[in-house]
């Protein structure tokens, strides 16, 4: 035990044990310091000053960083670190192959020769960019729905988030190697592409929802007392955030949390800090949006169908109109999601699609 008798105000204010009593009082540390004060009543003024110093300095310099934000930033750092590692490995392994190394030298020599003859250096950047497969480090994207209508957000893994009014979502332009994490405040419906290797995680302030590929809704407005997760298809695991974090090191997340099946919901009650499971009470919440109902196409060119979907969802669909000019479809949509509609259309015309940079890109060889 330290000899606190000779301590000055400054010594006390920087002493770990003293500080933990002032900042984070427990019954043990206050028992110690109260006893010490009883034995040394002449030090009360000194203790009072040191206490005030620590408290006031904390009061002045405190920040409003939430634990959720820290977790989110840490996830982001590990994701980017992973990406950079892959990038380094790609460059190394690309040039490790002797033939490729020779090819790279040839490309460079060819470029220099070409530059010499053409007399312009503008294209050198493109040439070297082709020689090095670079993974650009993607920033986070934040989308907030300030409108009265639902907002459709397309994610890099072909998952779709439908954001309700007043809600906000943060997600990386490209997901990392281990998982697909998004951070939600407010309410959104998710239609998640299947990928068992890479779980899809929705973080709210108090809950983490983990899925491998399914559709569900998360409702987590800051002003509400509850967080709700409702499942339409597939299986969803919901955890209390604190619980999820304590499990993170053990990779034992499968064992706990509440597992939900279709048409089930879980409600997290904030002031009681607990999860409550039940059947979905309001079936309207199990579709992306009530505005997207009923859509009938009878022998229509597929380009017209795409235009209709672009208008309804406020998204961009990129396609080659000339190649698709022969494609005609008949379809009737009721409560299908955007993804289900896209899947059905593409299947009908023998095409596929990707979601890149928030746009749907149609890959097709045409219909004949």
């Amino acid at each position: 035990m330290h000899n606190y008798h000779s301590y000055t105000v400054e010594d006390l204010a920087t002493d770990e044990m003293f500080r933990s009593w002032v900042i984070d009082t427990t019954s043990e540390n206050s028992a110690f310091w109260n006893r010490w004060l009883n034995e040394n009543p002449d030090k009360a003024g000194l203790i009072g000053q040191a206490r005030e110093l620590v408290l006031e300095v904390h009061e002045i310099y405190k920040d409003d960083l939430s634990p959720e934000m820290i977790d989110f930033e840490i996830q982001e750092i590990t994701r980017l670190a992973d990406l950079r590692k892959r990038e380094q490995r790609n460059i190394l392994s690309f040039f490790a192959h002797p033939v490729r190394r020779a090819a790279a030298v040839l490309v460079l020599a060819g470029t220099l020769g070409w530059m010499y003859y053409s007399g312009q250096s503008l294209k050198t950047e493109t040439a070297s960019a082709e020689a090095q497969p670079t993974v650009s480090i993607e920033p986070m994207i934040v989308k907030t729905n300030h409108t009265d209508k639902d907002m459709t957000v397309l994610l890099s893994d072909n998952s779709v988030a439908t954001l309700m009014k007043g809600s906000s979502i943060r997600y990386p332009k490209t997901f990392g190697e281990r998982n697909r994490s998004v951070f939600l405040t407010g309410e959104a419906f998710f239609d998640v592409s299947k990928n068992p290797q890479k779980p899809f995680l929705v973080f709210t302030n108090e809950t983490v929802t983990k899925v491998l590929g399914t559709s569900f809704r998360v409702k987590a407005f800051d002003e509400d007392n509850t967080v709700m997760v409702l499942v339409k298809t597939g299986t969803v695991s919901v955890y209390q955030k604190t619980e999820y974090e304590s499990l993170s090191e053990k990779t034992e997340r499968e064992v706990s949390g509440v597992v939900l099946k279709p048409n089930q919901q879980v409600v997290f009650i904030r002031d009681q800090n607990r999860l409550e499971r039940g059947a979905v009470a309001n079936p309207n919440l199990l579709s992306e949006s009530s505005l997207h109902r009923e859509l009938v196409f009878d022998e229509k060119p597929v380009t017209e169908v795409f235009e209709a979907l672009e208008n309804i969802y406020g998204i961009v669909i990129v396609y080659n109109a000339a190649i698709l000019s022969e494609c005609v479809i008949s379809a009737q949509f009721n409560d299908e999601n955007l993804k289900q509609r896209m899947n059905a259309i593409c299947q009908a015309i023998g095409a596929s699609y990707d979601m890149i940079n928030g746009e749907i890109i149609i890959n097709s060889k045409g219909c004949s």
Binding site: E10, A13, T14, E16, R19, S20, I23, D24, S30, N34, L37, N38, A44, G45, I47, G48, Q49, R51, E52, L53, V54, E56, V57, H58, E59, I60, Y61, K62, D63, L65, I70, E73, I74, Q75, E76, I77, T78, R79, L80, A81, D82, R84, K85
Partner: protein
Amino acid sequence: MNEEQNISSSSDINAYLWRNFKAGDADALGQLSKVHYRALYNYASKFTPDPDFIRDSIQELFLELWERREFLSETAFVRSYLLKALRHKLIKESVRLKRIQEHNQVLFDADNSDLSIESHIIEDEHTTYQSNRLKRIITLLSKRQQEIIYLRFYQNLENEDIAQIMGLGRQSVSNLLYRTLKEIKEIWHPAEFFWALMLIYFC
């Protein structure tokens, strides 16, 4: 604060994380970052009011360490080392992005002007009555004095670490700290009577 201490004092975990970090385990980087994230964020927020700029700077700091992981000595994940590197980065970037106009709003900066606290107080009109409260006194200190008080009593760092972070000699730090504390005590009237009441309540 307690959690941080526990992690950094348990050298086994640290050595384990450090080994994995060196071997290229991104999760180890995440865990090492987590120990220091709040301290770094808090310090950075005294240089700029822009949270996005802070997040980007801290992210960049850790990713730079990650890219140089094979060449780093173990000191790279000591708090004072990180705070120093972040401070340098923030000041350099602020200058580059010409964020000069913000300098008036920030608490600390690289400015070396160092007026005594009396000169600030004299400028103020209703000093005699209210200026005896510690919070008010501290906010009236020069930027450098505030930074030293912050690093000593908020981040709880030793003088040697403070000297490193602020790029000052060790002696200058102890002189400045001594002078600052002396100045504070000269006008500070601690809330002693309040404290006496608290004691009665506790006992």
